[in-house]
Subunit: 320 residues, 2 copies
Amino acid sequence: MMEELVREVLEGNKRAIARAITLIENNPEKCPEFIKSIFSFTGNAFIIGVTGPPGSGKSTLVNSLSKEFRKRGKTIGIVAVDPTSPFSGGALLGDRIRMDELTSDPNVFIRSMGSRGSLGGLSRATMDAIRVLDASGFDLILVETVGAGQSEVDIVRVANCSIVIGIPGTGDAVQAIKAGILEIADIYVVNKSDRPGATEIVNELQLLLSLDPKSKDPNRWKIPVISTSSVKNIGIEPLADMIFKYQSYLLDPKNTDYALEQEMKRRKHEILEIIKVEIFENMLSSLMNRQKWEKILLEVIQKKSDPYSAANSILDPLFR
Amino acid sequence: MMEELVREVLEGNKRAIARAITLIENNPEKCPEFIKSIFSFTGNAFIIGVTGPPGSGKSTLVNSLSKEFRKRGKTIGIVAVDPTSPFSGGALLGDRIRMDELTSDPNVFIRSMGSRGSLGGLSRATMDAIRVLDASGFDLILVETVGAGQSEVDIVRVANCSIVIGIPGTGDAVQAIKAGILEIADIYVVNKSDRPGATEIVNELQLLLSLDPKSKDPNRWKIPVISTSSVKNIGIEPLADMIFKYQSYLLDPKNTDYALEQEMKRRKHEILEIIKVEIFENMLSSLMNRQKWEKILLEVIQKKSDPYSAANSILDPLFR
């Protein structure tokens, strides 16, 4: 049965793709086998991560960008990740606004993914969902995540190109983004650029980016700041152009070292995520039942033990 | 030397507290010993977690709330956590607005914590910083975190009382919060309530909260929705009242089971965080050097291996 699913996924059958992602979400134990079967067919899609705080207009931007990509003849897989949502499937997270030409387009596949109670597994499930879309032949995969917290950063890290969105008028957002932007963004977008303060944010960000010592290296990719208004469809074409420019940059033989370094970082991150899930979801839960936990926790609560000693008492048998 | 530091921390010496937190951030290997020394003196502070998206006015709210607590004679420790910031110390993350009576108040201690490159350890370091403040005798500890992503949720989970902030006019925020709010909030705050749309958000949230099956249980804490405008100092007193009401609720003998359940969840989370750091920061890095990683990563990139097989090859020697 899994062989048939693999075959249909590789053929690009949308119903099979949906079934495969559901399998990944609900039956993590089947993932290693499934991913191994499709893994040699992955690596052809260009994965674009889009993140930003709630209210920054990610969904609308991903929507506009997808339409622009369609105009350019690209096939598109969209994965919308909401770590705070226990829901997953096709009809949530900003999909209100997607109930339009995109959903009926046979060359577009849209999927929402939520935590389903297991936040630890979301990152891993998202990666595997991306692999499914990659193996099934989509040219571009857009991964949209809420916020700028760790799990979102984790998810964006699997992308070939990371887009971080900010909006004018939220001073705090700029503050919060300042430190993180240099680490995760390949392209920075100031969305809702028709709002007051947009020019100031763009200037501030460009100044900030120019201060990064890495920007002095002439061969290094310079993080561009692009103004968009996805509602008014402003800046979408330049953004799409910039994404392809970054793709070309990565493919340029001059930048092989940089591209390989990025690829290695991504792979390392993926492997560490799998290890994390394996240890915390599988090994630890088989080792520690409810009673064992209760005993240890009560000892800590009653101050007979402390959290570090408790952690050691759990780790010891795990590692002999 | 550590004995002296422990003694000074327990005396509530602010410079010693600052030194202890720096020790926790920079020398994680010394934490188990240090925390063991102070652990039996912890458990007296009431820990209040405050989280919300960037731009929701957390810092200003924490500021106003602290002043209100001071009026009521409480001593206060404030930990401002920004997972996207590589900085830590006393003078960042919204501290602009704190350069006022709070910083000069001997009964208030303020500390910012950033990731310092090690996102995995931030949660652990924050917990330990809270323990230091707890042991040194502060009545209330306010922990402020950016966003609503996983690491922020993790940090809020260590609190006795979690406050989640939303603001009017960000439809996306409400969407994003809807699912998460029931899980992590003990009190929900609609800040910037002088903005249009505030009443609608409050009504929407109250409706949403009333739909939760748990709210049917008459003994169960009902998550209140409080409107505030920290800039205009509206709603701060009712919010402070509600926090103390929740504290009394937890102390009420009728609710012992609920309070213990919450305490156990918190302790379990703490222990798991310590285990995570131990495995990923210590064990794995001593097992895997750069060359080993490169070999494994190149095999995956060249499709000679896949991420699951690679993860297994790392896990196997770790667990025999």
